[in-house]
Symmetry: C2
DNA sequence: TCGTGTGATGTTACTTTATAACATAAAGCT
DNA sequence: AGCTTTATGTTATAAAGTAACATCACACGA
């Protein structure tokens, strides 16, 4: 376990945290190219993959995009609410719900390993006003 | 509302039903090219999109792939269990679970419109044996 | 300390997935 | 029928992701 990639990972994590919403891998790539002009896609994917494994970044499957983990640290299945109006993604911990879901599929003999729970809709701000965030 | 695309949609739906598991859009494309050599990606994506809107096909977000709706007909949020060993995707109706999930995000003022609930893991057959399906 | 092996990381080139923009054609209306 | 509207099909290209291999940092033994 070396440390070579950790700088890159930290930089990407910073970018994702600074960004308002979810960022595609290529959003990240182009942002990084400002300071590292020669960077290539696999470098970004490598780092994102490492960060994802470490539970510090989540891929938003239905957006093909990535967000910094908002609950920082521990591995956990989370519920993502995605505002289709302003793009904001909120992460929620819902251990009970995940447990219920696991129990549900286990009834058919299925052994669950990874949960993808994403809800699209409108966030309270966009629902309320025309501010468009 | 014309009928021009319905033949194509029916053909794609047939393919998806015949296929064992989830098919990528390009799997569908190449299958269609056997009989329609000149078909192009947007035709497939148009048809898949229409079928999806009609609730007859679901996109499996975490696989970038598509399956025929197994509950045929009505619009509904469903739970997909995806076997990472054999690729089988099962669709389950779980209105109560979807309701719980909706209630959960509504607590934050979010108005849910579309649910993506996918569980990766191992199906009972793959869990049991080495048959590999 | 220095060579050497090991495994993560970076690079090149490419594949897969998806869509913008425009051309075409079908159905409805008068 | 001729015109309007809107879905559909085509061309071309963009976006997302990865295989395969080269490179380099670190660990370990001599």
């Amino acid at each position: 376990m070396t440390k070579r990639g950790e700088k890159m990972q930290a930089e990407i994590l910073g970018l994702l945290r600074a960004a308002g919403g979810a960022q595609s891998a290529y959003d990240v790539l182009y942002a990084l190219r400002v300071t590292h002009p020669k960077i290539a896609p696999p470098t970004v994917y490598n780092a994102l993959s490492a960060l994802t494994k470490a539970g510090r970044v989540h891929r938003v499957e239905s957006l093909k995009a990535y967000i910094a983990c908002q609950c920082d640290g521990a591995h956990h299945a989370s519920v993502l609410s995605i505002c289709d109006a302003c793009g904001t993604v909120e992460e929620h911990l819902a251990p009970q719900l995940v447990k219920t879901l696991s129990g549900f599929v286990e009834e058919t003999g299925f052994r669950p390993q990874r949960h993808v729970i994403e809800v699209h809709g409108t966030c309270s701000e966009c629902e309320a006003g025309t501010d468009g965030h």
